[in-house]
Every structure is written in structure tokens, then in C-alpha cells.
Amino acid sequence: MEHIKTIKTRNLCDSAKNGGCGECQTSCQSACKTSCGIANQKCENTKASKNSK
């Protein structure tokens, strides 16, 4: 019996190995201005995000 369905997400632990290129959008440049949201920022390092999925 399936009790748990795991949704495919980026593995953050793996992203520690190859992330941090700094090319993604600075979050305060978008709509918020008065609050900080980063989860919606797209990764612009195609190689790293593919490797760490």
C-alpha cells in the first residue's frame, strides 16, 4: 500500500555541491520590494540544476 507520494524536487543537499553561480535574479528586483521571497527564483545554471535534481 502506498502511504507516501514523493513529489520530484530539486535536492538541496546536492545543490550545495554545484550551486552558487550567482546568475539568478536578485529577488528584490521583482514584485515584492518590501518583503523577501526567494523560493520562486528560477535557477539560471542549467548544468547545476540538472545535476542536482
Binding site: 500500500m1 524536487t9 530539486r10 520562486n40
Partner: protein
């Protein structure tokens, strides 16, 4: 670290450190909640009492699935990130890749709730000269290291009150970006009052994003967003925003509203934005001095929290009906979102 909650008929478990998201049944939800607090035998016994209708073998199987996910690093993943924060700071020290240019410290609206004190930031009314802006762009290029994508937001005050300089700065940036090996991405944040065909053409050609300030319902918007004669701006700006968005041809924009003590039921304002034909939306809580009449109160909180849940339901309904819209804080890219460095460093 685990965060678990129930919403819309789903039991959702977030494993914070690995980023894993699980949708689980009732027994799995309850086992996860106490997984670290007792032995296998203790938890199985407790679950047998709590879920008498579920066979013991099923409960044991569920426990073992959870244990396997833990072993695989997808549940109860340890926080190995804390020491990285300082490392990241050192790694990016001195590198700048974005500027928010205060192109105009003045505004043609007189919104009492403005966090920028009517655009003046408690200073004098002034606009930025081309020379200052040019030096800012040169500074950005010179200090951007190996970063290719550079972001510049034209902000204020109301940047369209200094539109000629905006245009000159964009032209200057375009003239240097190729030789510098950079790619400028511009954003314009505007209250809409001065939007005309020229602005629309320019913004849609040069701005990778535009942020358009609209608080939603006319009576809500016009409560704060008034001109210096006290007239509301809703009737003047909404047709302009509609014209701009229609001409934008799919390029990004945000219809960005502020909610205050006057409209903790901000979902109604989101519905108004949708009725007006806008579907890339953002609503943010007011930032103001303590005691300001617009300040959100403790009593507003339950209403606000409920709005966020109802908003999720509305998004699902509209999606199923083939009329989807986006909400800034709910645009979460689970499979291609930010790496842990970005999450730790936050805004920058």
C-alpha cells in the same frame, strides 16, 4: 527539520533541508509527527490505538517506508548548511550584480501609507541626473566580477517623472553591455499616472519586467492612492495598465498591490485584478510606522491567513477552468528552483 500541514484535502510534509515534498496518508502523517520521539515498537503501538481500523501490517509497512526515506535523505535530512553561510559571504564579497536606481525622489501621488514618504525618503524632492546614473551603471559593470546578468530596477518615487533619464540610461547600458560581456535586465516600477504610448512602447521593448501598482478594488485603491488634490487614481491608471499589459505580448509584468488594515480581505482585490484582465499578480502587506492607521493589527492576522489559503483554492479553481493566474509568492519551482546558496543568501 520537518514542516507538516493539511490543506485542501492533502497531508503535506516538507523536509526542509533536503527540499523534498511528500503527500502522505493519515497514518504516515501521524507517524512522521512522532517519528523521532520513540522506538519503532512504541510508535506502532500508538498508531494501532490511533488508527484501529488499519491493519497492523499496514502500519508497520508505512513506518518502514518512512524509515527508508530517512535513510535516503528525503526525510529528517540533517541541517548541514549552517556553516555555509559565512563561506558564501566570502565567496561573493565585493561582487555586485544588481542596482535599484532611485531615479526620482518625487512622486505625482500622495499615498499616506507610502514606505518611501511620498517618494522623498524623508529628504528633498529631486531627480537623478544622467551623469549620476551613468556612473552607477559603470560602477555596477566594474564590480560585477564574472556575473553576466546584471539587473537594474528603475524605482522611486515615481520613475516616469524622470523618464528621459531612464531612456538615456538604458541606451547607455545597451551601448556598453556587449563589449563588457554583460546582459542588462531592466525593471520599471510605476504608479501608472504618466503611462502613455511612448512609455508602453519603450517598456515593452526594454524592460524585462514592469511592476504596476494597483491595490485592487476602486474604493480600496482610492483610499490611499490619491493625487495631491486628494483625487483617487484608479480611474486614471487602470485603462493605462490594461493597454500596457495587452501590448506586452507575454513579457513579464506584475500587478502589485498593497494590503493594509483597510483590506485584510485582500482576496477581493485579487479578484478585481482578475476581472480587469490581469493575471500576473502580487499583493504585499503594508510597511508603515507603528500606529499608522494603515498598520495591520493582531486582529487582522486570522483574516489574512485565511485569505492566503482561499487564494490557493481560487488558483486551483481557475487553473481547472482554463483561466490560470500567478501569484508572486506562490510561484514555486520545485524541480528547478534556487540552489541552497541562493536560499541561504536570500535577496542577493
Amino acid at each position: 527539520m520537518i514542516h507538516q500541514y493539511k490543506l485542501g484535502g492533502y497531508n503535506i510534509v516538507l523536509d526542509i533541508c533536503s527540499g523534498a515534498v511528500h503527500v502522505v496518508d493519515e497514518v504516515a502523517y501521524d507517524i512522521i509527527a512522532r517519528f523521532l520521539d520513540g522506538s519503532r515498537e512504541d510508535i506502532l503501538a500508538a498508531m494501532a490505538k490511533q488508527h484501529p481500523h488499519i491493519p497492523a501490517a499496514d502500519i508497520a509497512e508505512c513506518y518502514d517506508q518512512i524509515a527508508a526515506l530517512k535513510e535516503d535523505g528525503q526525510l529528517f535530512a540533517p541541517d548541514t548548511f549552517e556553516p555555509m553561510a559565512g563561506h558564501l559571504k566570502a565567496k561573493t564579497s565585493g561582487v555586485i550584480k544588481a542596482l535599484c536606481l532611485h531615479i526620482a525622489h518625487t512622486c505625482n501621488l500622495n499615498c499616506s501609507y507610502c514606505f518611501a514618504s511620498q517618494g522623498k525618503y524623508h529628504g528633498d524632492r529631486a531627480v537623478m541626473s544622467f551623469e549620476v546614473g551613468k556612473q552607477a551603471l559603470d560602477f555596477l559593470v566594474a564590480n560585477s566580477g564574472s556575473r553576466r546578468n546584471l539587473e537594474v530596477d528603475f524605482f522611486g518615487g515615481e520613475p516616469l517623472m524622470n523618464f528621459d533619464v531612464v531612456k538615456q540610461l538604458v541606451a547607455y547600458a545597451r551601448s556598453i553591455e556587449k563589449d563588457a560581456g554583460k546582459n542588462f535586465r531592466f525593471t520599471l516600477t510605476t504608479n501608472g499616472v504618466l503611462i502613455d504610448d511612448d512609455v508602453i512602447d519603450f517598456a515593452n521593448r526594454e524592460m524585462s519586467n514592469v511592476v504596476l501598482s494597483l491595490d485592487g478594488r476602486r474604493e480600496i485603491h482610492d483610499r490611499f492612492r490619491v493625487d495631491y488634490a486628494g483625487n483617487g487614481s484608479w480611474d486614471k491608471i487602470v485603462p493605462k495598465f490594461q493597454q500596457l499589459v495587452k501590448a506586452r505580448g507575454g513579457k513579464n509584468y506584475y500587478m502589485r498591490g498593497t494590503f493594509t488594515h483597510a483590506n485584510p480581505d485582500f482576496l477581493e482585490d485579487i479578484k478585481t485584478m482578475l476581472d480587469l484582465g490581469f493575471n500576473e499578480l502580487s499583493m504585499e502587506p503594508v510597511v508603515c510606522a507603528p500606529g499608522d492607521p494603515s498598520e495591520l493589527t493582531e486582529e487582522d492576522l486570522p483574516v489574512i491567513l485565511d485569505q492566503y489559503e482561499k487564494l490557493a483554492e481560487l488558483m486551483l479553481e481557475r487553473d481547472k477552468a482554463g483561466k490560470p493566474f500567478t501569484f508572486y509568492h506562490y510561484m514555486i519551482d520545485l524541480s528547478g528552483g534556487p540552489c541552497i546558496y541562493k536560499r541561504i543568501s536570500g535577496c542577493g
